[in-house]
């Protein structure tokens, strides 16, 4: 049990340190967690690993972490067509979710900092508002 506990605590402290510098980011992540539960979790699952062949993973996802604009656009307007995530092709469309720009920013900050993901470059409402369909 002890190694697990240590691992767990180290993850907690890691989480703290990565948001400590920016209280705004911390708050946005907190709000984003609620949005995630409401709109995303049913398909992408609580662990962010998605469903093989159907719903792509968000945890440790090269698409999410490297294609910031495309990811924001997908959350803001929905998405269809093929995408490649971690070398695997997905072709399940995501319907437009009807989120506000603020909610899109919050949920982006949550998913890019949840599980094993880390992103200190906060997504702002202004950034989301500039992304066009």
């Amino acid at each position: 049990m002890l190694p697990i506990l240590i691992l767990f605590l180290s993850m907690l402290s890691c989480n703290n340190s990565k948001t400590k510098q920016n209280p705004q980011l911390k708050k946005s992540i907190e709000r984003g967690a609620t949005v995630y539960e409401d709109f995303c979790m049913q398909c992408h699952l609580p662990d962010g690993k998605g469903v093989p062949q159907t719903y792509p993973p968000l945890d440790n996802s090269d698409y999410l972490m490297n294609k910031r604009k495309e990811s924001i656009k997908a959350i803001k307007y929905g998405m269809s067509g093929e995408i490649i995530v971690n070398g695997k092709t997905y072709n399940t469309a995501m319907a437009p979710l009807g989120l506000t720009d603020a909610e899109v920013a919050d949920v982006m900050n949550y998913i890019t900092n949840a599980w094993s993901n880390k992103n200190l470059n906060m997504v702002t409402v202004n950034e989301v508002s500039k992304i066009q369909p």
Partner: protein, 368 residues
């Protein structure tokens, strides 16, 4: 070395759970033809007397499909397109040919407060436009939650209208409280008035339109072709999707009893049964995420008459359920892997039509 490996056992176990696919075998003894192309989320559709179709796109468009062409219907009310809500089911009055009443459900921001909730409207179609619109029901309160709008509509053989509203993401507030909307099956007269024999008409403060309660999110409803009973299915939590036969005043138990667990894997109840609460006719574990429901009543598919069809959003197939003595005794996958199955109807020609997301409407054909 050995203790370290022991840690892997629960990990492996969890990874199995998250990847759970169901084991229903694929049935390839059928063909299909795409009859309407280029639809995103065909939430509901009906056949008009001239065999043209009316199709609801969740985003808010009502489409008239006639002679291979799509025309957008004007006058559709503004839709609250958020999360699972949008423009949803469609149904024709049993005497549509005489009176022209068309019924539909949608997420609406009408009334006080931020957000929206499920509404039921009827209208008539005139020159590709909705006219004589009447709002028959609007659930309260509005909420910005994205989940569980329910929204299927059917008429039973006596002409009563039934429709569903899911619990709107308020598991612990709505489904067990008959003074609140959400997590209910509703029954109305065709003009929206409350039938005198509805089960809670004499209960103080109750929503008088409620017919049954304790539901989660019912996106499938159909009248049984021989018994006339109203059948629904509902999305459960992880591992708790259900089929129920709706009875007046009955409590279907959500969230007090359930065969499912939270999406996160934690439990919210230890009970699968309790006195005064109905047991499902069937439940799915793993969840298939059911939407759309129809019986095969025609002779078009040899050996399949009487089978129940249920769409699976999650695993992307039509689940053909063989029923015997009030139980599902066999399940098979039809139209396997074409896409998320949203809606299923038997057409006036006796063929099964299936609304599939990001594909269109597919006609199920017997194998040639």
């Amino acid at each position: 070395m050995i203790p370290k490996l022991l840690y892997l056992i629960p990990l492996t176990f969890f990874s199995f759970i998250t990847c759970a696919q169901d084991k229903n075998p694929v049935n390839t003894n059928h063909d299909y033809e795409v009859v309407v192309t280029d639809l995103k989320i065909p939430w509901g559709f009906v056949f008009l007397p001239d065999n043209s179709m009316l199709i609801n796109e969740k985003e808010g468009q009502m489409i008239h499909f006639i002679d291979g062409k799509k025309t957008l219907i004007e006058g559709v009310p503004e839709v609250y397109n958020r999360g699972q809500g949008g423009l949803m089911d469609l149904a024709l009055h049993p005497n549509y040919k005489e009176n022209g009443w068309l019924y539909f459900t949608y997420a609406s921001t009408e009334g006080e407060g931020d957000g929206g909730n499920t509404a039921l409207m009827r209208a008539k179609l005139k020159d590709s436009k909705l006219v004589e619109k009447q709002l028959l029901y609007k659930a309260t309160p509005n909420t910005t939650k994205g989940q569980h709008f329910g929204s299927r509509i059917v008429f039973d053989n006596e002409g009563y209208l039934y429709f569903t509203i899911g619990e709107r993401g308020e598991r612990d507030v709505n489904p067990q409280d008959i003074t609140r909307d959400g997590g209910k099956v509703y029954r109305l007269n065709d003009d929206g008035s409350i039938p005198d024999d509805n089960p809670f008409v004499n209960k103080p403060n109750a929503k008088k339109a409620i017919y049954s309660y304790g539901h989660r999110n019912q996106q499938g409803m159909v009248v049984h072709p021989t018994t006339g009973e109203v059948w629904t299915h509902e999305h459960g939590p992880r591992g708790g999707d259900e089929i129920n036969i709706v009875k007046a005043g009955a409590n279907y138990g959500w969230p007090v009893i359930s065969y499912g667990i939270n999406y996160s894997g934690t439990k919210f109840t230890d009970k699968t049964a309790q006195e005064g609460m109905e047991q499902p006719l069937h439940y799915w574990d793993p969840s298939i995420a059911p939407s759309g429901m129809a019986f095969i009543t025609s002779d078009k598919y040899p050996g399949w008459k009487g089978d129940l069809l249920v769409g699976s959003l999650k695993f992307q197939y039509v689940d053909k359920c063989v029923l015997k003595d009030g139980k599902v005794v066999k399940e098979e996958r039809l139209l396997d892997g074409l896409g998320r199955v949203r809606t299923i109807n038997e057409g006036p020609d006796g063929y099964i039509y299936v609304g599939i997301e990001n594909l269109g409407i597919v006609k199920l054909l017997p194998k040639k």
